[in-house]
């Protein structure tokens, strides 16, 4: 073996292809750093700046009207309860409908044209801009006063959020049920279970963790949405005190951030930061919780 052939087998860093390789690797690493940077910056600003305005008064007081008192703007209490209530309303509507729709897609009509159409439709619905959901609910509920004569209301806000949750829940239920092995279905039928018993006692429990992952992700997305709320639930500075208050304007963390960030007063801006702190903490926890639940299931994607 001569010297030159031996040399061609060893790594030569000055070759054009090796230099090019190294350069591209460095560029891709740089891109990865740039992509992670916004998350780190946003989270740290929200945690540090927002966290510094958090105290017990901020958490429970009602916000003051802008400009009245430059020292204290009150708190974000009603907005926290408002976000919670509207998320609950959205869940009450979208979880049964979404899980039911997903059950139909996965268990009843596996490849029929209607199922294809529904799958396509839920993908399209997922792509509908959230502000359009707000415009839609404004047109059919707020401006027609169909809900017992009330216009802007927490219920209208919750319904518009449910439109955003629906496609995610349908899709994850469908996919979660499809991961359950068919053997389990045949075994259930074999011991004489009806289809209803099979679904409620065998496949739904087996897919439960994957479905909850999807539901939590949908909930996290809906709780942070602003666009559908600004002309359905509007905003309110007061706590709700009775059931009837559901039919009136309701505040939420996201709309509070939007309104108060654009106020010229420092005290209001601080409340916006405090509200972002709470919102981001809740949403990140929901996301991390959903990832953790997703790893628990017997047939979850992460395990198969």
């Amino acid at each position: 073996m001569n010297y030159s052939s031996q040399k061609s087998l060893t790594y030569n860093p000055s070759l054009t292809r090796n230099i090019g390789n190294k350069a591209l690797t460095i560029i891709s690493a740089l891109f990865a750093i740039i992509s992670v940077l916004p998350l780190i910056l946003v989270i740290s600003y929200v945690l540090i700046k927002g966290g510094s305005y958090i105290n017990i008064e901020t958490l429970i007081l009602e916000p003051e009207p802008p400009g009245d008192d430059l020292l204290s703007a009150g708190g974000i209490g009603p907005a926290i309860t408002g976000t919670f209530i509207m998320a609950v309303i959205a869940s009450i509507i979208s979880i049964p409908v979404g899980v039911g729709g997903g059950i139909y897609l996965a268990e009843y009509s596996k490849s029929g044209n209607f199922a294809k159409f529904i799958r396509f439709g839920s993908n399209v619905l997922a792509g509908v801009p959230s502000i359009i959901a707000g415009v839609f609910i404004y047109a059919i509920i707020v401006s027609t006063k169909i809900l017992f004569g009330s216009m802007f209301s927490g219920i209208a806000g919750g319904i518009s959020l449910s439109i955003l949750m629906l496609p995610t829940i349908i899709k994850t239920t469908d996919e979660a049920l499809k991961l359950v092995p068919n053997d389990m279905r045949r075994a259930a039928f074999g011991v004489g279970a009806s289809k209803f018993t099979m679904i409620t006692n065998i496949t739904l429990p087996a897919a439960f963790s994957s479905i909850s992952t999807g539901v939590l992700l949908a909930l996290a997305r809906a709780a942070g949405e602003t666009a559908p709320l600004i002309f359905t639930a509007l905003f309110s500075r007061y706590y709700i005190t009775s059931f009837d208050d559901l039919f009136y304007e309701m505040g939420s963390l996201s709309v509070l951030i939007y309104n108060f960030a654009l106020e010229p007063y420092e005290a209001q801006n601080q409340l916006a930061w405090a509200a972002s702190f709470i919102l981001v903490i809740v949403l990140l926890s929901l996301n991390i919780l959903s990832r953790w639940i997703g790893t628990l299931g017997a047939f979850s994607k992460n395990k198969v």
């Binding site: 740039i34 039911g100 359009i132 349908i170 951030i257 949403l283």
Partner: protein
């Protein structure tokens, strides 16, 4: 079969109640699945119905006029449509190399796997930050930070129409940058998933005939996963076009058309967010017309995304 065994192993007939539950349950879930179609169609029907007045009055002129005058009742959405398309496409052009580059970096074995997983999770958590919080951050932190840099560009390249106004705060450029932050997680996570699905045989074959890492990536891995990447990019485009809050807070909300990316502008969604609450009469109808245009744009992009994923996807299994 003798009598004893028949009585011992007789088949149970299903009681009527059980059959009713079965049929009822099926009908209920069919109805629930149909809700998707019902909601989708009613969104279209309602938005179309509400905008008929403006459609019949302005027709296609609405798309090419930038007048927006509630006093004279003259409306046109050109500025907003241009703003929507320009901001989303510009942000896409920045986000594609960043997102796909990141996806490649975390699917290649350049650094240890747990660091790659952490980067992947961090980029996906970025998607969990609500857009209104990103808007808040953009208004108070990002925009003041980048303004000096934009000023330098303005002073050096001000003769180019795209940079011809002085950056004074809210404007198209900060909106584009915040859109990049919003769509980056979509492009990264979908590209990552489709890069991971490329069978390792293809990579081994490329290495076997002497291809370097990046030759393999550009000539084998990316072509093999191009359907997923394109789908992700189109989904991101749809998201960018419909994105409302962060853009509304930072774009400046001005209906005056300007070529400059430093000038305040409008997108359809920010126009809706700003004006819908206080609008009445023919302005509502014009806003609904704009909403219809936005819906059709995002619908086309989303349908095209689904079509292209089906069309381009190579089957390896």
């Amino acid at each position: 079969m003798d009598k004893a065994s028949t009585s011992k192993f007789s088949l149970r007939t299903r009681p009527t109640s059980e059959r009713l539950v079965d049929v009822g349950f099926k009908n209920i879930v069919v109805a629930m699945a149909s809700m998707v179609a019902v909601v989708l169609f009613s969104i279209f029907a309602v938005v179309y119905y509400e905008s008929t007045e403006s459609i019949s009055r302005y027709g296609l002129r609405f798309l090419f006029s930038s007048a927006w005058n509630p006093v004279t009742d003259e409306y046109g959405a050109f500025t907003a449509i241009y703003g929507t398309l320009f901001t989303s496409i510009a942000s896409l052009l920045i986000a594609i190399p960043l997102g796909v580059g990141t996806a490649i970096f975390i699917t290649e074995n350049i650094i240890p796997e747990y660091i790659r997983n952490v980067i992947g999770i961090m980029v996906e958590l970025l998607a969990a930050i609500p857009s209104v919080v990103l808007g808040l951050w953009a208004v108070f932190i990002m925009e003041p930070f980048i303004r000096p840099f934009l000023n330098i560009i303005y002073e050096l390249f001000g003769f180019i129409p795209f940079f011809s106004t002085q950056p004074l705060g809210a404007g198209m450029m900060p909106a584009i940058l915040i859109l990049v932050v919003m769509i980056l997680p979509i492009i990264t996570s979908i590209s990552k998933d489709s890069l991971k699905q490329v069978p390792s045989k293809l990579r081994q074959a490329a290495y076997g005939i002497g291809a370097s890492r990046w030759t393999t990536i550009f000539k084998v891995i990316i072509p093999a996963s191009i359907s997923g990447i394109t789908g992700g990019v189109l989904l991101a485009l749809g998201r960018a076009m419909g994105e409302t809050m962060a853009v509304t807070m930072i774009i400046g909300n001005s209906n005056n058309f300007s070529w400059s990316i430093f000038a305040p502008s409008y997108t359809i969604s920010s126009m809706l967010a700003n004006q819908f609450g206080e609008a009445d009469g023919s302005q509502v109808s014009s806003l609904m017309y704009a909403a219809l245009i936005l819906m059709i744009l995002t619908l086309l992009v989303n349908v095209f995304a689904q079509w292209i994923v089906k069309k381009l996807s190579l089957k390896y299994q």
